[in-house]
Symmetry: C2
Subunit: 117 residues, 2 copies
DNA sequence: CAGTATCCGAGTAGATACTG
DNA sequence: CAGTATCTACTCGGATACTG
């Protein structure tokens, strides 16, 4: 390492981008929710409740609101009776697919490694 | 969505792998620390303190211990005076590189998108 | 230098119950 | 069905100070 001054290193842009990404995807459920939407397409609130095992409605609601705020999902109220609500990924959310894939790959390898020890 | 029963969907393996990965990499700092170690190679405690701007020694210490537990870094005590300690990525940690890259790419695109709105 | 000890506040997450 | 309201427990992260 020597005398590097980290404060003036290049790549600050990428550092900030990384921090933003971590902020947006933070929490126990967001990435799992995104993955469900990838796998199943449009989903209703109750679908997501079932898909994300053990999540409570309050927490799911919070997570969905944050994802919507960050433009990763859309929320649509359907004029049915009773009323239903659909959630869908935005085009922008496609950018998170590589993240999810990479996480899964890492997880698989990690599980394998733990097993081998 | 229709009548899918999520509990019996295939890909449970991948779901668990994803949850493991999320658990291991959780928190505000772990991924940033890993990235620093990628960029700079071996680093000492104080180097990491500087590189992860605003982190406190207590928090850094915690994060490093967890990363070590999960076999992502090694901790080496050097016989110098005063004693120094080096942290390094394990081979296994290489598997997290795609995650970090994907996060950065997503972050960059997200920042751009926000700007454009 | 490389941490640990304490304390604290904020945010996260869950249980449970209720509403339009 | 799709949430919200309330309350509670717990974890996370930070401030500050101290030690071998």
């Amino acid at each position: 390492m020597g005398k590097s001054n980290f404060k003036s290193e290049p790549g600050i842009e990428r550092q900030l981008a990384l921090q933003d990404a971590l902020d947006i995807l933070r929490g126990k459920w967001k990435i799992l929710i995104l993955r469900s939407l990838y796998l199943y397409g449009t989903m209703r609130f109750k679908d997501l409740l079932e898909a994300s095992k053990n999540i409570t409605p309050k927490v799911l609601s919070n997570e969905l609101q944050q994802l919507e705020l960050n433009l990763l999902i859309t929320r649509t109220v359907n004029n049915t009776k009773p009323i239903t609500v659909s959630y869908e990924l935005t085009n922008h959310a496609i950018e998170t697919l590589p993240v999810i894939k990479a996480l899964i790959e890492f997880g698989l390898k990690h599980r394998k490694k733990i097993k081998d020890n």
